[in-house]
Symmetry: C2
């Protein structure tokens, strides 16, 4: 089915903005869920309609021409602005390494990738040359009044460039940005509803670090918070972000394979929290990881009750094997099973 375009977009009329979206039958007006309340009280980003057009075109292209499986990879941290003219915001630690790296391995395994990422976080392929201590220009050198690639980097760059051009020329990678948690939530909702046409051939690979808290629009000051107020102290009271994963699983993308991440810093609660998420949202896979060791080990927690660890060996670590090169094939196996069993 082609979903109806999400309502409440394009409007600045407060009456139509609080209209109830009757396309979601489970939540009649009298019992609006927290998630639906969120969308009635917060405006969509103004660019969303254009972005929806891009996503539709991308998906239709693959539906018509390549019949590829499609994965939405979310990546990077969301911000929670503390002011309307944003000077200060709360952020979630994430350079986007997991998401950008995973996107590459999905592409290499034949998936079309929608890469929903924090603006200026790492991108597939270019990640090899950004957010490093090397300046971009350190890869360059001047030869006979011409800029050339420094020979010591040239061979590896050719390999990366070819993969990048391949992804671009085959129209297999669509990158779309977000900054705030509000932009993220609206975009996830739109993209997932558009992607539902792909049904079980879709994966949602939710690697973004989404804030658990937000400051409601109604309480946000217009201007920069002045530090002399309240004796120079700052008290910030944030509300919980509604649990959109249940909306995604139940309503927006009920046919897709949904993979969420659980990042903790305390080893003793990691598995329990991953299982809780699975129980609560009834999706297919939680990948657990600790901030301290996330680049060398993760645990797959599935409804079957088995916890399956993926750990890099010392040999793999010394050879700079990326753990995503092991994670993604395993996710794809689970996806293949999912498609066969549906």
């Amino acid at each position: 089915m082609t979903p109806a375009p999400p309502k409440n977009f394009h409007t600045s009329n407060p009456e139509t903005e609080t209209a109830i979206d009757r396309t979601i039958p489970d939540f009649p007006a009298a019992q609006l869920s927290d998630e639906d309340k969120y969308f009635t009280h917060h405006k969509p980003p103004s660019y969303l309609p254009d972005l929806e057009d891009e996503v539709k075109e991308f998906i239709e292209y693959h539906q018509r021409n390549t019949h590829k499986r499609i994965v939405l990879v979310t990546s990077g941290g969301t911000t929670v602005p503390l002011e309307n003219n944003t000077v200060r915001f709360i952020d979630n630690f994430s350079a986007g390494t997991r998401g950008a790296t995973s996107a590459e391995y999905f592409l290499e395994n034949g998936y079309a990738v929608i890469f929903l990422h924090r603006e200026f976080s790492l991108l597939p392929y270019s990640r090899h040359y950004s957010h490093t201590t090397n300046c971009f220009l350190d890869y360059m050198t001047e030869v006979n009044n011409k800029v050339e690639i420094n020979p010591q980097f040239a061979d590896e760059m050719l390999i990366v460039l070819r993969k990048y051009k391949q992804a671009k020329e085959s129209n297999s990678l669509l990158s779309i940005p977000f900054t705030t948690v509000n932009q993220y939530l609206y975009t996830l909702k739109s993209v997932s509803q558009i992607m539902e046409i792909v049904e079980k051939k879709a994966i949602f690979f939710l690697a973004a670090a989404v804030s658990d808290f937000f400051l409601p629009q109604s309480r946000m000051p217009t201007h920069k918070i002045q530090s002399q107020e309240s004796g120079g102290k700052l008290e910030v009271n944030l509300e919980p972000v509604p649990k959109f994963l249940s909306r995604l699983v139940d309503n927006w993308a009920p046919s897709a394979l949904i993979v969420s991440f659980k990042l903790e810093t305390d080893n003793s609660i990691l598995i329990k929290k991953a299982k809780n998420a699975l129980d609560r949202y009834q999706h297919q896979l939680v990948i657990g990881n600790l901030l301290q060791t996330r680049k060398k080990e993760v645990v797959f927690v599935t409804p079957s009750g088995e916890n399956s660890w993926i750990k890099l060996t010392d040999d793999q670590i010394s050879k700079e094997v990326e753990i995503e090169s092991l994670i993604i094939p395993r996710v794809i196996e689970i996806h293949t099973q999912w498609i066969e069993n549906k």
Copy 2:
């Protein structure tokens, strides 16, 4: 004079960490200022001694060989971690455009530049190719199995590369990073004390967006804040960051020209707040700017009481003139006056 190395570094002994630094005579033990209390209650970053060595070497090189004036440019926003194993933090909006661009114009005007910047924010020269919507690899193309610069970007890149290599080869640019407000404050203190040897030939050009608030180490939770605590809400209570500018002006760098920035979003309070800063800290120049118009107009507020605006004309805007190309020569004029009058 060569300042004594800052105390309290290198130590993890709680007793020596709270020892009073007797090198600052104005604040005896009984009347520790907020700034001094800050340093006794917060640990320096572990990498600080190495960084101090780099700065000393850089300054000594220019003292011995080039006799250049030296500017410390600070750039980008500081973070305030909300957890010890940091997942969440408060950030200040800043890509680092003002600082990175200003650093280039100081270099072109013969200054040696210490560029104290938020890690992964914009850097002088490479800024032309990062944080854009273009991927790094879009500047590249493959010709005969070799990576080459796409011809449409090659000419401009050659100009930028030459300036970058010139800055590097003349050892005129030292880039040092920070992330948290604690790292920023310790580094500013160390660098300014080392720079005092340059006396009046030094400028402090403080373009970084430094948090006005912080969470004291003593109140910081070790692990990721759990969202189910207190019904999913989050209450953050922050303390005011002590006013280090007075310490810089009075103690750390009393001979240098000190330029601070005032960024507001509300036009009606901009000048007043700039004047207040000048009255309070008794330094030489506040550059005021509004978030909304900061790329096309700024105001110089000086102790003389005159407010002098720098505004790009429509013609300059259409030609993409950078406002820093007007700001920096004006700052240098003020610096020349400062040197002559001292």
